[in-house]
Each structure stands twice: as C-alpha cells, then as structure tokens.
Symmetry: C2
Subunit: 406 residues, 2 copies
C-alpha cells in the first residue's frame, strides 16, 4: 500500500560500520528482530530523541550515555517491544542487554546505545535477547544495511534506507541511513528510529549540529497521525575513516557533508510518510504568507492532522471546505479570512477569501485523485513559510491500529 | 451505531416558542431540511459561536445582530449547506433568506438569526429556501421540537433533544433544547448547532451568563475528531413567559434555571458524542492531580484526540501504552512520569509511573469491551482536574467522511 515507495536498491557500505541481525523472538518467533551496529574505534555519535515526557528506558539511557561522550562503539536495536512505561525495571533491562553486547564486542557497557520499538508497557525478554546477541555479532558485515532496515520494521511494509556519496576536500564521503516507523508519527525531534552513518571526520560538535539541522528539515517536517512516540530516536554515526583532519562546523566540507546527510534524512522521512499506516496519498502541505515560521507550521500541521481533511483525501474528494476549516481552527491570532488563498497543486480554489470563479469540481478532483500532490495555502500576512509532508487517513489505518496487538 | 442513545421521548413545549419545518431540497430533495423557530415578543436571546477564523456567514451575521440587541423574534436554520467560505456572496445570501422570513412573520430582518450546517464552500439555494419559508411558517406549532431536531440533522443518526422542568419562586420553568452534530466536533465555544429555550424571565445579561456557564460544562467538554467547525453555534432563547419580574444573575432562581440549562446542555453534548461519526464507545476522560485546569484539559484532549488511543478503544484493546504516550506528548512542562497513575474505570494500570503488579490484561480488556467507561489519569502534581467526553475511532468514521459528499 505504500505510496510510490519501493525497497532501496543501493545502500552503500560506510567504512567503519558493520551490521548484524538475529532472531530473538521478541514479540513472536519467525523473523530477525534484533540488530547490532558496530562502529570502529574513533567514531563520533550524535543523537536527537523524542520530546514525549514518557521517554522510553532506552531513550533515557542513550541520553545519559551520549551526554558523557560521543565516542560510542555499538548500537543495539530491537523491534517488537518499545521498553517504554516499564518503570525502573525497564532501565535495568536496557542496561543488562547493552552490557551483554559490550561483553561480546569487548568494549565498555557505556559505549553501547540501546534502541527499542514496538509495544509499550511490557518488559523486554532479556534472556532471549542475550542468547541472540552472539548470533548477531557473528553475522556482522559491512554490506548488511538492507537486512538491518528489515530487522527494525514493525508495521512498516517496506524497509527504508537511503545513500549519498559526495566529494570533499579529503576524498569521497558516504552517507547511508535506515529508518523505521509508519504510525505514532509526529516526531518533533526525530522519527521512530533512524540510523545514519558517514565515514566523514565530523567532530562531535559538527556531527551534532549536522544532525539537528538535517532532522529539522526532514523528520521534524512529517506527520502520519499527530501522535508522538515514546521511543523516537535519530542518531548520526561519523566513523572518521575518510581523510586525516577533522571537519568542524562551518568548514566548506561541513556544508557538503551536511547536504548529503540532509538529503538522506529527507528521503528517509518521506519513506516514513509514504509507508504511513494505511497511506494511499503522499501529500505536501505548503503554507506561505505567514507572519512567522511557527505560525506557518501551526497551520500546516492543523491541515495535515485534521481527520476530516485526511479522510477526504483518501476518498479522492477535493472537499476544500475542510482545508479552510483546518486553517481557521489553527488558532492564528487575527487571521483575516479575506486575505487567504488555497490551491491544490496549481488549481486555485480560494483567492483573497473568495471561491475562485474559474474553479470547477473536476479540476480539484483530478489533483486529489493522484497519489502525490500539494495543498498550498497563502495566509496573506507576511513572508514566512513552512512545508511539511503527510499522508491520508484510510480504512487500513483503523484496521492496522485496531488489530496491532492481536 | 450510536452508543446508548435513542430518540428523546419527551420534549416539553416552551411557552412562547413555536417551531415549523419544511423541505427546501438544499442538498437533495426528500427530507425536511429547513427549520423556523419563532419566539414571542419580549424574548431574550444569547449565543456563543465558533472560534474558527473562517466563521461562516450566518455566524458572522448572528454575532452582528446579537451585538445590537438580545430582542430577537426568530431563528432560521438549514441543514445540507454550511454557507461557509462563501465570501461576500454568502453574507448576502444569509441576509436575503432572513429578510424573507422576517417578511413572512412581520418582523424586522435584524430580528431574525440565521444558522446553517452542511457542506462548506457552496452557495445557498436562496430561491428554494425562499419558497420553503412560507410552508415552514404555516407549520409553526409549539410541540414540534422532535421534528425540529430531525430537520437539522446531517450525518447524525439520532435526533438529539433534552428537556427539564424546575420549580422557581415565580412558578414552574421549562428548559428544552435540541442539537445536531456528530463530526467536525471539538467546539471550544459551542457545538455545531444547539438551540435551547426556556420560558424563564432571564435578563439578557443573565441569559448570556447562564449560556456561557452551561456551555463551558457541556459542549466545551466534548470532542469527536479534534476538528472545529466553521458553523458552531449554541443559542439560548428565554421567552420570559413565566412570572412577572426579571431574573438577574446571582438571584436564587438564576441558579435553579442555570442548573436546568446546564443539565439540558450536558445531555445534548453527550448525545453528540454518543452519535459521534462511527462511534462504538462513549468514553469519559478524567484527569486529576494537575497543576491547573488548563493543564488537566490539555492532557485530557491529548488522550481523547489521539488516533491511536481511539482505534485501540474501537478494537476493545486495553492498549494502555497509547494512553501513556498521549499523556507524554501533551506538552506538560516538567511532568514527572514517576508520579503518574492511569486507571480504566477502577482497574489500576499504572501507579507512580510503574505498571501495577496486580494488573492483568483480561481486567483492562473487560473494561474497554463495554460501550461506556472512564479513562482516569492522575498527574501527581496538584489538585486541579478536568473531565471531557469523547468516542472511539472506527472504520465507519473513515467511511462516513470519505463518502460524505458523494
């Protein structure tokens, strides 16, 4: 059902990164649901995490460990169980499983970062994970990115990955990333889980800055259902394998590498929306003429998260009254309806608050019948703009989420 | 499909109020879709309206006319067309149709208030409405409340009405109200359309105060889908037929009448949720232990509007992880997860941030299998509380809204 999304064809290996998967039967047996990402010594890791107050145990442990040092040696990821709302026991479980991986790799437990995704409120099967870790380690290989993308899927229907290669002053740099997540998606800081690696010699500060800049333009611009996960995490691992001197924020190479990281993050963020639970449409919402970027985003999210707009788009119904309703409910102080314009792609529906005389129902219907289109809004009160991406709301969204645990 | 909701059995007439309906074929022929409510001379009308910036033409005209005087003589209501986002032409249409009713009743056009509900962005069929008005006026009768409730339905499956009789110092007072609306419901000021009448001698100021107090505890506490209509309106008509002296705000009788108005409004607001589009559950969300009422409402709405919570409830799945997720995403500054408690009716799921040791899946499932239950949350940081009402999110919500215009 994903909208114009197929398996990534080429995910280039990143020097200094090896990946291995194994079956730990975390939710149920029959699939590889455990992923180990090993990083070469000297790697620098940056991360951004959910703003949900009920941040999961692995998120809390990641924050704690990354606040001490960016020098990390491995990521341990499981699907099928989020280890969220599990109280103190959940933190113990995250410590125990990362310690088991540290022992297998011969590094310190504090050099392993845990990530979990799946059902909330259930304890991790620590013993089964411990038994699977040696098998995942034995499988470590530099070209296992696609298998890794598969191992972290939950209700995803397509594994999500993206790669870029760019030329820097110190040689060719690779950026490869994978992501998962199709529901409980309105990240605000990062999506469900995304792992991006590069062999560029970004300093820890430069890696952190590049990650935040890239995430702001990608994962922080998508919404599937307005719900913010307890486990959102996006990390950037820079293995520093290319070249001999560090790249600082502001260097010419910083911008080259940042552009590649941003491109990978946008491709992954789009993949999350294209595979949004039950999605049949990939919709860009562009709001301009706003007094501030915050205001433009507020209106864009009001449209993108409106159940009535989303169900109309599912039906291929150019019910633009619902778009107008969503603009109006967004809470923009002093908004003058008589200055507002609305377009579907290039078809003008509303201009200066008046229905456009040339608009015909068939023209709007032709736009929303397509799998991809843009809802454009002009608020007529300034120059600020924002663009976000979302999907429609279908029977299958309800079906997937009504049946998720059964 | 409505949850424990049947047609109102007894809607008492209110002295000074007559109602008449007629077919104007506004969206399509075959039903009575036009309602006239005539008020006796001396009636006082108060209204609250949508906060949507794209307030519909009838809402704007109501505001203008009520700002001049509470002495109104009639309400003109149509279903099938919202007369919203219709620009200046829409205002002209509302003026023309109310003028036609004023002519038929022999009052001034400024003494008629217009109300519309239905599709957004299409012009009203002014001529057909003008032709139907004399038939509605000819049908005026004091006991036509149920027929009136039927005439204003759109995707409603059950007509909504409520009545109370209370004893005041000046004699028995009747309060009767009708409402419509099952989608685009998170009113913030009033619901889709609700008309409440009483024969009490409330002054205009007392009527306004009573209406605002009653709406705050009723229509402003419900959400079906988080979308705020362009046409929300709730009016209170006090015909002043009982007794000889006015009731001011603060009088003993004011509180007696207010209690009856509030009871009618709560019953109508519950009816809106029980008949929420596709609803199979009527859910009360109670949030306590908050630092402020605003904070308690913020968390209650985050739960009530979460698509993931709503789809789990539809499935009868006690997926309380989603409730925890919604509490965490609500944006309460400094919320300490280790103090939060969650209950389903009397079944404790989470206590002080830890899963309750006695909780068993079957116990939660037994609660959410019922058509009515309460989600209880304790934030553990104060004494403020809030209670709101909502419904679940089903296949039929998508079906109803994907097919609404076709």
């Amino acid at each position: 059902m994903a909208v114009n999304l197929s398996e990534p064809s080429a995910l280039w290996p990143v020097a200094g990164v090896r990946l291995g998967t194994a079956e730990a039967a975390i939710k149920k047996p029959g699939r590889k649901d455990l992923l180990v990402i090993e990083l070469a010594p000297g790697s620098r890791v940056a991360g951004v995490f959910t703003q949900n107050a009920f941040a999961a145990a692995p998120v809390r442990l990641c924050r704690e460990r990354l606040s001490r040092t960016a020098a990390q040696r491995a990521l341990l990821v499981n699907a099928g169980n989020a280890n969220a709302a599990t109280g103190r026991g959940g933190l113990d479980d995250a410590r125990a499983t990362t310690a088991a991986l540290a022992a297998a790799l011969g590094c310190a437990p504090e050099e392993v970062l845990p990530f979990s995704t799946g059902v909330i409120g259930q304890r991790l099967p620590v013993q089964r994970i411990g038994e699977a870790i040696p098998r995942a380690v034995a499988a470590l290989a530099p070209d296992a990115w696609l298998a890794a993308a598969r191992a972290i899927m939950t209700t995803d229907t397509v594994p999500k990955g993206a790669s870029r290669r760019v030329r820097t002053a110190q040689g060719e740099v690779t950026v490869t990333g994978i992501a998962k997540g199709v529901g409980m998606i309105e990240p605000h800081m990062a999506t469900m889980l995304a792992f991006v690696a590069t062999d560029a010699r970004l300093t820890p500060a430069a890696a952190d800055a590049a990650l935040r800049a890239a995430v702001d333009d990608s994962f922080n611009c998508v919404t599937v259902d307005s719900d913010t996960s307890t486990n959102d995490a996006c990390v950037l691992c820079a293995t520093a394998k290319v070249g001999t001197h560090d790249i600082e924020r502001g260097d010419a190479d910083y911008h080259i590498v940042l552009d590649a990281i941003r491109a990978v993050c946008i491709e992954l963020a789009h993949a999350v929306v294209r595979d949004g639970e039950g999605a049949t449409r990939f919709i860009t919402v562009e709001v301009g003429g706003a007094a501030s970027t915050a205001e433009a985003r507020q209106v864009a999210y009001a449209i993108a998260n409106s159940p009535l707009v989303k169900t109309a788009m599912f039906a291929g119904d150019a019910n633009w009254g619902r778009i107008v309703m969503a603009i109006g409910k967004a809470g923009v102080d002093g908004l003058d309806p008589a200055r507002v314009g609305v377009k579907l792609d290039e078809v003008i529906l509303l201009e200066n608050g008046e229905p456009h005389p040339d608009y015909r129902e068939e023209r709007g219907a032709a736009v929303v019948a397509k799998p991809e289109f843009t809802i454009g809004v002009d608020l007529g009160r300034g120059d600020a703009r924002a663009r976000i991406w979302t999907c429609d709301f279908s029977y299958d969204y309800v079906k997937i989420n009504a049946e998720y645990r059964t």
